[in-house]
């Protein structure tokens, strides 16, 4: 009995292979997008964990200089001689082929176990490690990237290191970084002797920092990953619309079979179990396919994501993807869960089906008037939730919850709104045919509503995201023009060269402006302090959002600071408040400037004050002002006469191109996910129309019989689909703009710390509208073509068969 029942149930899919493909494809696509995004997140998080574990920062506490600057290594010896078990670390960056390489100098002899790479632990390797030219360890890809580098120690591959990191002996690193006798921080052994001199008595300039379970970068990039997750979830939700529709349809179409099986003695519970098993099997098959597809998507997107994270946050993420249970398992689970959600309603209905209920397949999921009212009510409720969150919610999670409520509410309200609009059109229609067309369209809305809702979601997301990205791009490029006012940026390799460089540049340019900065804790979080010269370059161009009167004069005195928008928002600071710099100096805030693309807090003070507060500030970078026509000549003079490597020179155009490149990468993934979401929505439309086409023959046959040709009917069907898509598009625009506003004013502020003005791009909407009409047209073309070619006999059968 069971086997017969199962084979009977499964025979449905044999007879309707298209439905099977729809179901599997929908579920697989939804799973693919979800698991792809999760795979990217998992890979990035694994990289952060490795970064956190780098030199045991997740296990060992550290002593760090209060002002964030390097200190003389005598502090290390003093501490050791006072009984402290510490090991010095020097950290710095070198430039190679346009990329920054992070150099970590360590002392494996004083280091606690587990700090140094295991590869240093052989006598030969150890002697070579600190005897010049030394030995460095790096991830295999970094070893390859550095193969043509000169002036470096020999580099050997080591497992478990992050790309872009070079570990070497501290003595070798001091030479390489031009930081003789300097160290950046000290690693504390986990156990310290009981009898040792208090820290304040030995090294008051140091402060103890607890081990960090998560690197700073993981916190910074949380918003980015939440963003990706939200998009993955959106795509999944859109995919579920397809699955829900298809499963519902398959249940409806098998009502006759269910009744027969029940009548033959199959218990209700057995039937439900069989159907649940069927859904589970399908979900697993689709899940496996989806996870495989997800891998492909993730592998394709990961390089962009890695570039973004590297450019925006300085987070090194490995560009290669590994299969991690956390995402493929999650993908399978999502597939099963999604199928269960999609099938739940149908199973529930089946459970309550009277044994001998009329076994007529109804047009699938046709909502009654009350159903639509409930749905509209729910939509209104969600709208209120979104409003409430916008008003009183705070933070990123609330921001995304608001987006979710907004989108779902808009989608749920769609059938009601469409129905009302079509009702109005119907009342205003002149002529029988037009009346029939509107009425028939309205009658179809419930059947198409799921596909249309999916389309609405995709379109709104598209409008919203492209508006956000477009606004950002516009603001960003304008800001770059202001901010990058200098024609040339140069970096010396060491202090003495910097002094010579300045002397070399001064007679050859209009102005040489120092760009010196120190990093350190700015109001409790990592940040930078920049020195700024008193020069029209800043007075005329620097993009200030808020400023006290005479802002630049006040900064020039050295007693006031400018801070970036991120810091101001994070700490709730305004001009007139005061900001505490690394080392404890507090200055009053004279103004706030926009600082897009920088996730950290930043302050600017007069360059002389910077040099006074931080005497060891590296004085290597300068901005050079000169007429643009003279830039190539000066670059030539610097590289040939002065001998500065070309890598140490950057002209304005290159920086702008680089910044815009980072910007484009940041949203490349968003754009790709957007396109995929659109594709899923298009597929939803196609499947709905295809399945409806079969059921609509009884409704079309009378119209045909009344004299409308099949071709005309087909054209009307096509026009109907396009018209519905157009209506959906029109409705999607305000939803998308709301979405864009939420992204710009809520999510961006919470995620990045900046708020951007919103710009509108009607041309983009037109393009998007055209695209969606085309998609709807294409989706409707096949059913319409089949209708045009339908044998008259099939249409006649409608009257012969009592359905």
């Amino acid at each position: 009995m069971w086997r017969v029942a199962l084979s009977a149930l499964l025979s449905h899919w044999r007879r309707a292979p298209l439905q099977l493909i729809n179901l599997l494809l929908g579920l697989a696509l939804a799973t693919a997008l979800w698991s792809g995004v999760q795979a990217i997140n998992a890979e990035a998080r694994a990289s952060y964990d490795r970064a956190a574990a780098l030199l045991g920062q997740n296990r060992f506490a550290q002593l760090v200089p209060r002002d964030g600057q390097r200190v003389d290594q005598s502090v290390f010896v003093d501490l050791r001689r006072a009984g402290w078990l510490v090991s010095p670390v020097l950290e710095g960056r070198i430039r190679h082929a346009g990329d920054w390489i992070r150099v970590l100098g360590i002392d494996p002899v004083s280091a606690p176990a587990g700090l140094a790479p295991a590869s240093t632990a052989s006598p030969e390797a150890f002697a070579g490690f600190f005897t010049p030219p030394g030995l460095a360890f790096a991830a295999p890809e970094t070893v390859a990237a550095l193969s043509d580098a000169t002036g470096l120690p020999r580099v050997e591959p080591a497992e478990g290191l992050l790309p872009g990191v070079l570990i070497m002996d501290i003595g070798i690193a001091q030479e390489l970084l031009g930081a003789s006798d300097m160290i950046s921080r000290l690693v504390l052994w986990p156990r310290q002797p009981e009898f040792r001199t208090p820290l304040e008595a030995v090294a008051p300039q140091l402060v103890e920092k607890a081990p960090q379970g998560q690197a700073d970068v993981a916190r910074l990039t949380d918003s980015f990953h939440l963003n990706l997750t939200a998009f993955g979830f959106l795509a999944f939700a859109v995919g579920l619309f397809i699955v829900h529709g298809t499963i519902g349809l398959a249940f409806e179409q098998r009502r006759v079979m269910f009744r027969t099986l029940r009548a033959l003695g199959l218990p209700l519970r057995g039937l439900i179990v069989l159907l649940a098993v069927e859904v589970l099997l399908l979900a697993l098959v689709a899940g496996v396919v989806g996870v495989a597809l997800g891998y492909v998507i993730a592998a394709a997107l990961l390089p962009d994501v890695a570039a973004t994270l590297g450019g925006l946050y300085g987070a090194e993420v490995s560009g290669s993807l590994s299969l991690r249970p956390v995402w493929w398992g999650g993908g399978l689970a999502m597939s099963v869960l999604g199928a269960a959600v999609a099938a739940g309603q149908s199973l529930w209905r089946l459970a309550r089906l009277p044994l001998l209920a009329p076994a007529q397949p109804r047009a699938w999921a046709r909502a009654s008037g009350t159903g639509m009212a409930v749905q509209t009510g729910l939509a209104a409720l969600l709208g209120l939730v979104a409003l409430g969150l916008a008003q009183w919610g705070g933070g990123l999670i609330a921001g995304f919850a608001m987006l979710g409520a907004l989108l779902l509410g808009a989608a749920l309200s769609l059938p009601g709104v469409l129905s009302a609009l079509l009702g109005m059109a119907e009342r205003g229609a002149r002529g029988v045919l037009a009346g029939w067309f509107w009425a028939d369209t309205r009658q179809q809305v419930p059947g198409l509503s799921l596909a249309l809702m999916a389309l609405l979601l995709a379109l709104a997301a598209n409008v919203g995201v492209s508006t956000m990205v477009g606004s950002f791009r516009l603001t960003f490029t304008g800001w770059l023009d202001q901010r990058l006012a200098s024609e040339l940026y140069v970096t010396a390799r060491n202090g003495p060269e910097a002094a010579r460089l300045r002397a070399f540049l001064e007679p050859r340019s209009d102005a040489v402006l120092p760009i010196w900065n120190v990093t350190g804790a700015l109001m409790g979080a990592p940040g930078q302090v920049y020195g700024v010269a008193d020069h029209p370059t800043y007075r005329d161009h620097w993009p200030l959002l808020q400023a006290a009167p005479d802002v630049w004069d006040r900064v020039a005195t050295g007693n006031a600071a400018l801070i970036n928008e991120q810091l101001a928002r994070r700490e709730g600071l305004a001009p007139g408040d005061s900001v505490t710099l690394p080392g404890g100096t507090a200055l009053s805030i004279a103004g706030i400037y926009s600082d897009y693309g920088n996730p950290q807090g930043q302050a600017m003070i007069a360059v002389d004050r910077l040099a006074a507060l931080y005497p060891d500030v590296p004085r290597l970078r300068f901005a050079v002002r000169l007429p643009p026509a003279q830039v190539p000549g000066l670059i030539r003079a610097l590289t040939t006469d002065f001998g500065l490597p070309r890598d140490n020179l950057t002209d304005q155009a290159t920086i702008k191109a680089f910044s815009l490149g980072v910007f484009e990468q940041t949203f490349a993934v968003t754009a790709a996910l957007n396109v995929l979401t659109m594709a899923v929505a298009g597929l939803a439309m196609l499947t709905s129309l295809l399945t409806l086409a079969g059921m609509r023959v009884p409704q079309l046959a009378p119209v045909w019989a009344l004299g409308l040709t099949r071709a005309r009917l087909a054209r009307l069907e096509l026009a109907r689909a396009v018209m519905l898509a157009a209506l959906t598009m029109v409705l999607a625009i305000p939803v998308g703009l709301l979405l864009a506003w939420a992204l710009l004013a809520v999510v961006n502020v919470a995620a990045f710390g900046w708020r951007l003005p919103m710009h509108l791009f009607p041309l983009d909407w037109l393009w998007l509208g055209g695209l969606s009409l085309m998609a709807a047209g294409l989706a409707a073309a096949w059913p319409a073509f089949r209708l045009a070619r339908m044998a008259p006999a099939d249409l006649l059968k409608v009257f012969a068969n009592e359905r």
């Binding site: 002899v109 600190f130 003595g171």
Partner: protein
């Protein structure tokens, strides 16, 4: 004192035992080697000899606490050169290692420190005399060189601060400080101060303990003190109640034989070295310590001096669980002579 443990060079290696204990059997290319007939110069030779591969400043003390119980203290600074160069800065190829041990009748505390040379974290200066690593320090008082010392070390839960006053002259071991280590001719420079009077204070988890007693300092440097087939040694420094001192050791080879040597320093100032075979060391009892079998009671015979004694560990668990582990602890002496001393055993698997 004789061949003593040193492990530094390979301080980061896991498999350093392939050739002799702690790599002591490796060849000595580029390093200076001890020469017979070379006269030691003081105080210069109290300082470091960076052109020799290995060197140590090794102090052991047999102490009695105010509570009447026996205590033992070990303080050692090892130097190991990766290349025969001194100098300053991180590239200096000198590695330093400190070991501290504090033995009570029922507990044994161990401390270990590692440092690079050239940056000030560890080193030895001859005049004024100071040997240090981290906050551990052995220093001469004023210009007293080795005759008056202060000594300090700290561990995770112990510390000691001792003052040492030499009661006799330095003793040059072997042939005027040239100490032969094998039949093949491996040798080291080796001298000792076998007789310090000690006062000071131990810091234990339960509190401070004033102590008095005797201490013994060994200075030794070489470039290749072990023959390739020697895999460990047993070494003693003994203070007899008569005022005489005995240093003795045997180097065990892989065939089950041993090379023995020793020096008798009489209370009257007579110093007599003994060649291979005159001193015999016979293990009597073994105990399971730190997962291996160790002889914790020995019979020592030196017929030339009418010596036939038994030495027994005061605390058999005096295991130095350092990077290169060994046993080192205070012993009591019974038999033809009585007194106290220190026993070191290495190379037991």
């Amino acid at each position: 004192m004789n061949v003593r443990l040193i492990a530094l060079l390979i301080c980061l290696a896991g498999a350093a035992f392939a050739q002799g204990f702690a790599g002591l059997g490796t060849t000595s290319d580029g390093f200076a080697t001890p020469q017979r007939g070379h006269a030691l110069q003081f105080p210069a030779d109290h300082g470091a000899h960076p052109d020799y591969r290995i060197e140590w400043w090794y102090l052991t003390a047999n102490l009695t606490g105010a509570d009447g119980r026996d205590y033992g203290v070990q303080w050692t600074l090892f130097r190991s050169a990766l290349a025969p160069e001194g100098g300053t800065g991180w590239r200096t190829p000198q590695i330093w290692m400190g070991h501290a041990g504090l033995t009570t009748p029922d507990r044994h505390f161990v401390g270990e420190r590692l440092a690079r040379g050239g940056i000030g974290q560890a080193g030895v200066t001859a005049q004024p005399f100071e040997a240090w690593i981290d906050d551990w320090r052995m220093a001469g008082t004023g210009d007293a060189a080795l005759s008056e010392l202060t000594l300090r070390a700290t561990g995770m839960e112990f510390a000691f601060d001792l003052s040492l006053l030499a009661e006799g002259p330095l003793v040059l071991q072997g042939d005027a400080g040239y100490s032969v280590k094998s039949a093949g001719g491996q040798a080291s420079y080796y001298y000792s101060q076998p007789g310090y009077a000690v006062t000071g204070e131990l810091t234990l988890p339960e509190g401070k303990m004033p102590v008095t007693g005797q201490a013994w300092l060994d200075r030794e440097w070489s470039s290749q003190p072990l023959a390739a087939d020697q895999d460990g040694w047993d070494w003693v420094s003994l203070h007899f109640d008569s005022g005489d001192k005995l240093m003795g050791f045997q180097l065990r080879d892989t065939r089950g034989g041993a090379y023995t040597s020793g020096t008798w320093s009489g209370a009257a100032g007579d110093v007599v070295p003994f060649d291979d075979g005159q001193l015999t060391m016979t293990p009597l009892d073994s105990a399971q310590v730190a997962g291996r079998k160790l002889p914790i009671r020995w019979r020592l015979e030196l017929p030339a001096r009418g010596l036939d004694i038994q030495i027994a560990a005061q605390n058999r668990n005096a295991w130095m669980g350092t990077l290169f582990p060994y046993w080192e602890g205070p012993v009591g002496i019974t038999g033809s002579h009585t007194g106290r001393g220190y026993l070191e055993m290495t190379g037991y698997q």
